[in-house]
């Protein structure tokens, strides 16, 4: 991890010194443990702020939409797939970007860690696959694999799909992971159980829209939930409105979502809204053999027609 950080700093510094980019988007240490924050670096001497460890779960592609300058961006597997999606959707040009690819080994689920201890977690240090969590009166080490975010534990695209320079050698992709176990669990339920499951899932939602704001796909100038004329969705805390927001947002991400987990990570009440997007991701994969963002040159299934597209649902 330390080597990654040094290499990222080095590349960023060189880019800015040579004026090949105007800014570099990366991560710097956050003020609380397990929360690295995104940062925009404008001059070579600021490059030392950059870090890389297992707390860089935020998707940096979120900061690219509609930017006009030349940008260097630090990208792990999922970020790079979202960058590819941005390029497809004309939100940024490939020639504007210098992508610093970072092979990713998964991000730590900070909620999982916090839930394990009674006291406040003050420090989280990692070395050689071991993560040590320290508080005022406790200290415990874990294998990193025990603490991964759920989406990271089933990720099969850890290495960036597009990059200009890699910060390290590619890591081995995970083989034989069951990516859709959680979706199948819901599919096995009857309609009433499913309805209730989602009702329970969304009960704590306060509609702060943190999931939407953290999502790189949600770049609409006016989101459908903010629109007042016409007002598509009620603005209340009513379960019907909350549900409408969540499933419609998921639909907007169909065929685009890379399951980066930024939405779930950003949620202040810990709702796993990925069960919505994941179902659509699974459907896209099964119906069209599509995984989002693997190449900036292939048009996504929702804007292409193929005669063999499934149409059994049309009577």
């Amino acid at each position: 991890m330390l080597a990654y950080t040094d290499r990222i700093k080095e590349i960023a510094r060189a880019l800015l010194t040579d004026c090949r980019v105007e800014l570099v988007i990366g991560f710097r240490k956050g003020t609380v443990p397990m929360m690295n924050e995104p940062c925009f670096i404008n001059s070579p001497d600021e490059a030392d702020q950059l870090v890389w460890d297992s707390n860089c779960g935020i998707n940096l592609a979120n900061y690219l939409a509609n930017r006009t300058e030349k940008i260097g961006i630090v990208a792990k597997g999922c970020d790079s797939r979202n960058i590819a999606t941005h390029i497809i959707e004309n939100k940024i040009g490939r020639d504007q970007l210098f992508i610093i690819g970072v092979p990713c080994q998964g991000m730590i689920d900070r909620r999982k860690v916090n839930a394990m201890f009674d006291g406040e977690v003050r420090e989280v240090v990692e070395s050689d696959g071991l993560v040590t969590v320290r508080g005022a009166d406790f200290e415990k080490s874990f294998e990193k694999s025990e603490l991964l975010q759920q989406n990271c534990s089933v990720c099969t695209h850890r290495n960036p799909v597009i990059f200009d320079e890699m910060a390290a050698d590619p890591v081995d992709e995970q083989q034989g992971v069951d990516r859709y176990a959680d979706v199948r669990e819901i599919e096995a339920m009857d309609p009433q159980q499913r309805w209730d499951a989602f009702e329970k899932l969304l009960a704590p939602c306060i509609r702060c829209y943190a999931c939407r704001n953290a999502c790189p796909l949600c770049y609409c100038p006016t989101c459908f939930v903010d629109e007042a004329r016409p007002q598509w969705v009620g603005k209340s805390q009513n379960p019907v409105d909350v549900r409408t927001f969540h499933f419609l947002r998921a639909y907007h991400c169909a065929g685009r979502c890379t399951d980066c987990g930024a939405c779930e990570r950003a949620c202040p009440v810990g709702i796993n809204m990925r069960v919505f997007t994941k179902k659509l991701e699974k459907d896209c994969f099964e119906s069209f053999g599509w995984e989002a963002g693997l190449s900036p040159d292939v048009r996504p299934p929702l804007d292409t027609y193929r005669p063999e597209d499934p149409d059994d649902f049309i009577k």
Binding site: P191, Q193, W195, A197, N238, F247, I314, K315
Partner: protein, 52 residues
């Protein structure tokens, strides 16, 4: 939608050309029959807020 708990059959898709009047009638009859069997949709009805 069905994944989320809407009853199967509540949401239906069909393709009817403006020249296919008989198909249109058939589809409408079939849909209304299925929906009547399912009964009223109360899933997306906002309930009055309960005040203690």
């Amino acid at each position: 939608m069905e994944h989320m708990g809407i009853e199967p059959g509540r949401l239906q898709f069909s393709w009817v050309s403006s020249a296919e009047s008989t198909k249109f009638v058939k589809v409408v009859n079939e849909v209304s029959e299925t929906i009547k069997k399912l009964g009223p949709n109360d899933r997306f009805v906002k309930k009055e807020i309960k005040v203690a």
